[in-house]
């Protein structure tokens, strides 16, 4: 395997991805990511030095529109699926002491 993923990298990616992995999952993730990156490295065979990255297949321009409110106060619906709610808001664990 050309790409060796370190414990630090997996730790860091876990923070970015907001995932908590068990020690076994971490070992597996190191292996999986390493072999995926080995495979992805195939792209380096291509000379792309004069190529513009293409994020969208069609030419897109910003679509402007008047800022008119078309939906009403939908609070009840928005909160309908909330795991916890309080006083018309989403409730989360205390974050500020």
């Amino acid at each position: 395997m050309a790409n060796i993923i370190s414990d630090e990298t997996i730790e860091y990616v876990g923070i970015l991805a907001k995932l908590e992995l068990s020690p076994e999952e971490k070992e597996q993730a190191k292996k999986d990511m390493g072999s995926m990156l080995d495979y992805i490295d195939k792209l380096n065979e291509l000379d792309t030095s004069n190529v513009e990255p293409m994020s969208h297949v069609f030419p897109v321009q910003n679509v402007f529109r008047e800022d008119v409110v078309v939906n009403g106060d939908d609070r009840e619906n928005i909160l309908k699926n909330a795991p916890e709610q309080k006083d018309g808001s989403f409730q989360v664990p205390k974050t500020v002491e």
Binding site: T9, I10, Y12, V13, G14, L16, A17, K18, L19, E20, L21, E25, A29, D32, M33, S35, M36, L37, Y39, I40, D41, K42, L43, N44, E45, L46, T48, V51, E52, P53, M54, S55, H56, V57, F58, V60, V63, R65, D74, N77, I78, K80, N81, A82, P83, E84, F90, V92, P93, K94, T95
Partner: protein, 485 residues
């Protein structure tokens, strides 16, 4: 008359002619579900009462002349990554085990306006990440042609529901082949339209620059009809495209005289099963007999599509799936200590292994120091792949090849080696990268009795070319379902 054998368009005609009622059709589908669902598991949710109530309502609107369209009264199954108001929508994930949307996806609204009756929500790979429908949190789906085999994925449940007569048609979604590959494995027809044709509003996002909704049905006529009903320009989807025309059914003409069809040599090399190869080349011969001009050519860059796709799709997934954090909807873990711990335990318990794998990869390729080497490199590769297709479509109206390199593998054979599984998408993935339309049509069975799919690819906005070619090919053979053997 065996109701269940009818296509969606045939059923709607019979309903209109008062030979069948909407309730009878709905009940027939529900009875079939009772009969086969324990072996197949096409559905995550079957909405019996909702469907029967809707059937009555739709019948009235047909009787009083309000609903006159070609899908009025026809029972439909919806892939479980499209929001349906009041009906559980899980994306086949534990993290959405209790999510009841308060609105419906635009594509679903368009179907409801046309009088289609929603039967339920079909099983899929979790968040559409997979090629076998084995990564669902609600059990695997089995191929009705042989229940020891997978149905393909990720729209596996939509394709088995159509094949096993558990609905008259279905909606799927296709990010890297997720409509065309399972259609091929299940012997049904499925279209992935040009990017932007069907609104993504209410489709739970995986790879937003690649995702497209599309129809799955028994034949090309149904698919073109459904596509016409479901497509719309939608201001709520910022990548929706205002097309010049939507009359796809006009292309249902049995005439391919002079049509230029290119066969990419690169699609017929190593890794392609010889029985699949033979069936696909025979289909090309049928089109040639009807007057199409068939030519081999070199497409180029075929081997680079999969690595580019996995970088782009994983990057977009890591961003799109950040919303599942236990705050606004879905599952919330019970064991946590503070806000960040809640996010982490919720996501770690709520997502399955394949979803985590792709979120991790996506977070990595977007992270500082790796963004240029991986993400930008993949976007540049995408530009090169698009150029290859542009060159091909300067010469050809349609590109013809297999939908998948093999027929359906056995259950349990694919997940142990992710890269090998990803390679199964080699013929479908580049179509998503280039935003093109593609269709999979059944073109035979292998010696194991499993269906083979022919893929036809068109240039952007040229659905009509692939519909015409598919329709002309389909006229050379009979539709055979898994229970017609």
């Amino acid at each position: 008359m065996d109701l269940l054998k009818l296509t969606a368009v045939e059923l709607a005609k019979k309903i209109k002619a008062k030979e069948v009622t909407v309730m009878e059709a709905t009940q027939a589908v529900l009875d079939q579900i009772d009969k086969v669902e324990s072996q197949i598991n096409s559905y995550v949710t079957v909405d019996r009462e909702g469907a029967l109530a809707k059937a009555k309502e739709v019948q009235k609107l047909i009787d009083d002349g309000t609903l006159t369209g070609p899908l009025a009264g026809v029972p439909v199954a919806i892939k479980d990554n499209m929001c349906t108001e009041g009906i559980l929508t899980t994306c086949s994930s534990k993290i959405l085990e209790n999510f009841y949307p308060t609105y419906s996806a635009e594509a679903v609204c368009n179907l409801e306006k046309a009088g289609a009756v929603i039967i339920g929500k079909t099983n899929m790979d979790e968040f559409a990440m997979g090629s076998t429908t084995e990564t669902s949190a609600y059990g695997i789906t089995r191929n009705p042609w042989n229940t020891e085999h997978v149905p393909g994925g990720s729209s596996g449940g939509s394709c088995t529901a159509v094949a096993a007569n558990e609905c008259f048609f279905a909606l799927g979604s296709d990010t890297g082949g997720s409509i065309r590959q399972p259609s091929s494995f299940c012997g049904v027809t499925g279209i992935k339209p040009t990017y932007g044709t069907i609104s993504r509003y209410g489709l739970i996002a995986y790879g937003s620059s690649l995702d497209q909704i599309g129809p799955v049905a028994k034949d090309v006529t149904d698919c073109a009809t459904i596509l016409e009903v479901v497509s719309s320009y939608d201001k709520k989807d910022s990548t929706s495209v205002q097309r010049e025309e939507y009359n796809f059914t006009e292309a249902l003409v049995d005439d391919v005289k002079g049509m230029k069809i290119g066969i990419p040599k690169d699609y017929f090399g190593e890794g392609l099963d010889c029985e699949v190869k033979e069936a696909v080349l025979n289909a090309a011969k049928e089109l040639e007999k009807k007057g199409a001009i068939i030519e081999e050519f070199e497409l180029g860059l075929v081997d680079y599509a999969i690595p580019a796709y996995y970088v782009i799709a994983a990057a977009e997934a890591s961003s799109n799936l950040a919303r599942f954090d236990g705050v606004k909807y879905g599952y919330r873990s019970e064991d946590f200590d503070g806000l960040h711990s809640m996010y982490k335990t919720t996501r770690s318990q709520g997502f399955g292994a394949e979803v985590k794998r792709r979120i991790m990869l996506g977070s990595f390729v977007l992270s500082s120091g790796y963004y240029d080497a991986y993400y930008l490199k993949a976007l540049k590769t995408k530009a090169l792949i698009k150029q290859e297709f542009d060159k091909a479509f300067a010469k050809y109206d349609v590109i013809l090849g297999p939908a998948a390199p093999t027929t359906a593998p056995k259950i349990g054979e694919s997940l142990s080696d992710p890269i090998k599984m990803y390679l199964g998408d080699i013929y479908t993935i580049s179509v998503n990268l280039a935003g093109l339309p593609g269709i999979s049509v059944p073109c035979g069975v292998d010696s194991k009795g499993l269906p083979i799919g022919l893929q036809l690819i068109g240039d952007c906005f040229k659905e009509k070319n692939i519909i015409r070619a598919a329709y002309a090919y389909e006229k050379t053979r009979e539709y055979v379902g898994p229970y017609d053997k």
